[in-house]
């Protein structure tokens, strides 16, 4: 058999199974979701149709577009908060710890919480922030406040804290990776030319670590925007996010077309953010080698 033919045969032997699988579980479902988003809702279910009514509703009905805006806003805040928490940690790991073994150990220690149950980690904040929770009882015990405060839980503040907590390791990883790539000689050169530590950080280190920050922020943003666990657990009456609405539409509200439309919109927002961040990263790409 000619080698060329053999190569093609080998490829299809390898790839037929996966190709079928991926088409059936990814491609087809996404297309179906897209299709349903154009259907009309008709009690008790929905009928095939091709109309933009669902999308129009999303734009016109404040109930929906407010939720979209809120989700974007919260996702953004989560990204910023996670950034503020994780950057010092990543910086310390990358540039301040000289022992290789310690660095690996602490890095793994930072990453582990990432894989520990998301649900449980969100749940812990419910126990901490509640009016009968740990934070309140701590503050009362130490006399800072007299009565339990409802300030902490069931609002957007609680959501942002919870999600920032969950996504911090997501931020640390890429930030660490990009900080670590900066050759020490650049820092030394900056100091050699007269810049002090703060200046060097602001002018050299921070800009060069931006690709990692961007990657981490994008990831955090995308995952926060689509989260429904935190809003349900620690959010409040006014904290519905996109995912909650989608869940409701596919649940009690039985409005699959609307839910699909919302899902498609969410998908496009996330894809847009990823593409944007890709472009930004490529545009600002500096070759450190």
């Amino acid at each position: 058999m000619k080698q060329h033919t053999r190569n093609i045969r080998n490829f299809w032997l390898l790839f037929t199974g996966p190709a079928i699988w991926w088409s059936l579980v990814l491609l087809v479902p996404y297309l179906i979701m897209l299709m349903i988003s154009f259907y009309t809702r008709k009690f008790p279910f929905h009928v095939p149709d091709f109309q933009f009514g669902n999308y129009v509703k999303l734009i016109e009905d404040p109930q929906y577009y407010l939720v979209l805006f809120r989700s974007i806003k919260i996702a953004f805040l989560v990204g910023v908060t996670a950034f503020l928490i994780s950057y010092p940690l990543a910086y310390c790991l990358a540039r301040k710890i000289s022992s290789d073994r310690w660095r690996l150990l602490l890095y793994v220690a930072t990453i582990i919480p990432l894989w520990v149950s998301y649900l449980l980690r969100a749940y812990t904040w419910k126990t901490i922030l509640g009016s009968e929770g740990i934070l309140n009882s701590f503050l009362m015990w130490t006399g800072v406040i007299q009565e339990p405060s409802t300030f902490f839980l069931y609002n957007q503040f609680a959501m942002v804290i919870t999600m920032a907590y969950i996504f911090t390791p997501f931020m640390v990883m890429p930030v660490y990776a990009s900080l670590e790539k900066i050759p020490s000689s650049l820092i030394e050169a900056s100091k050699d030319l007269g810049a002090n530590r703060v200046s060097t950080f602001l002018k050299i280190t921070l800009p060069l670590s931006m690709p990692g920050v961007l990657a981490g922020f994008t990831f955090t943003f995308c995952l926060s925007a689509g989260d429904f666990i935190s809003p349900t657990l620690v959010g409040g009456p006014y904290s519905n996010m996109v995912a909650n609405v989608v869940a409701t539409q596919f649940g009690i509200a039985m409005n699959w077309p609307l839910g699909s439309a919302l899902g498609i919109v969410l998908l496009f927002i996330v894809l847009a953010v990823i593409t944007l961040s890709d472009r930004l990263e490529r545009a600002g790409r500096i070759n450190l080698a």
Binding site: M1, K2, Q3, H4, R6
Partner: protein, 365 residues
């Protein structure tokens, strides 16, 4: 001797329209040690890989013992390769690496052990069966790679830049060992290298390559003394390449002119028909410093020049002599008893050089 390998019109084009091998044809006799020599990118490694079965030609065929093996996969060819970076299996011991080929072909355990032991003796590494590749030195790794390739008794052994990972001293001893191994085993060796000294020392024949095509094939002596093109003359050993114009003078003799310099090249080695413009190739070690009064000048061409540079190199002195406006010539003078130290010319001195006409090669431009 029988013809063991034949390459017919071998062509390989890589993506991006890079023609790595361009219509190469040649044949090899059994038991030869042949080297493919050339700079990086000339296609020599690609040809080697096509013989081994790791690349497939776009055009042309490969014949082994008369059968067309062009489309045969590597595991069905009785040809084995020693890879440039050795490619030892990191997770297997030395014995595991060497015995791998035997086990794959179904040889039973005790036989495998025996043959592996024999191989280890052959490559002079007894007792290292259980070491991992990461625990060996570079030289040891090379031997294991060699043993692994030889244990299946292939018809042809391919060597891809075998010495490139070794330091200079090790390289020299390895060259000798490989030569002895070749003599001992007797199979055909095909080696790829960019090191012309290595090629000349080790090979029965050398194939000089350039830009995907064969420039010249021949024994080391043929290539060195009778280069077919300026490229070969310049690639093997060192050459002075001088650009000149040739005319016939009144007595019918061919005279090459460079600037004010005139050299009678009638008795030189002239490649193909003489055109007016030529490149003259003179080997530095053939040029002598001459004492006009004493030395015998028969068969020699002489010229005057001014010493520009004197480099002492242990066994020889390298002079650079300026012969005229822009013409410099290099001269390698061996340090032996014929040159008393008191007489070594210094920079700025005027000297006379001579070169036997028969050693001059003239190429049309």
């Amino acid at each position: 001797m029988t013809r063991i390998l034949q390459l017919k019109n071998l062509t390989k084009i890589f993506p991006g329209n890079v023609t790595a091998v361009n219509n190469v044809s040649m044949s090899m006799e059994e038991g030869e040690f042949i080297t493919l020599l050339g700079p990086s990118g000339c296609g020599k490694t690609t040809i080697l890989r096509m013989i081994g079965g790791f690349e497939y030609p776009d055009l042309g065929s490969v014949f082994l013992d008369g059968s067309d093996i062009t489309d045969t996969p590597p595991y069905e060819r009785p040809v084995n390769m020693m890879f440039q970076d050795f490619a030892l299996f990191p997770h297997l011991s030395v014995a595991g690496n060497i015995g791998y080929g035997l086990r794959i072909s179904g040889v039973k355990g005790r036989n495998v052990e025996r043959q592996v032991g024999e191989m280890l003796d052959l490559i002079d590494l007894p007792g290292l069966e259980n070491r991992l590749p990461s625990e060996l030195s570079n030289g040891q790794r090379q031997r294991v790679a060699l043993a692994r390739a030889l244990v299946r008794k292939p018809r042809i052994l391919l060597l891809d830049e075998p010495m490139s990972a070794l330091d200079a001293k090790l390289r020299q001893s390895m060259q000798v060992e490989l030569l002895e191994l070749h003599e001992k085993i007797g199979i055909t060796f095909i080696m790829v290298t960019h090191d012309q000294t290595e090629a000349m020392v080790m090979s029965d024949r050398i194939m000089v390559m350039r830009d995907g095509m064969i420039e010249q094939i021949g024994t080391p002596t043929e290539l060195y003394d009778q280069p077919g093109t300026p490229y070969v003359a310049d690639f093997l050993g060192q050459s002075n390449m001088l650009l000149a114009t040739v005319t016939q003078n009144e007595s019918g003799r061919l005279v090459a002119r460079l600037g004010e310099l005139e050299i009678d090249v009638t008795d030189a080695s002239i490649v193909s028909d003489i055109a007016e413009k030529v490149t003259i190739c003179i080997r530095p070690e053939k040029v002598r410093l001459i004492n006009l009064a004493r030395d015998d000048l028969s068969g020699m061409e002489t010229f005057e020049g001014n010493v520009q540079q004197v480099l002492y190199s242990g066994h020889a002195i390298y002079f650079t002599i300026a012969l005229g406006q822009d013409t410099n010539i290099k001269l390698h003078h061996p340090l032996d008893t014929t040159l008393e130290t008191a007489v070594i010319p210094v920079k700025g001195e005027q000297v006379t050089c001579g070169v036997p006409t028969s050693t001059i090669t003239v190429f049309p431009r």
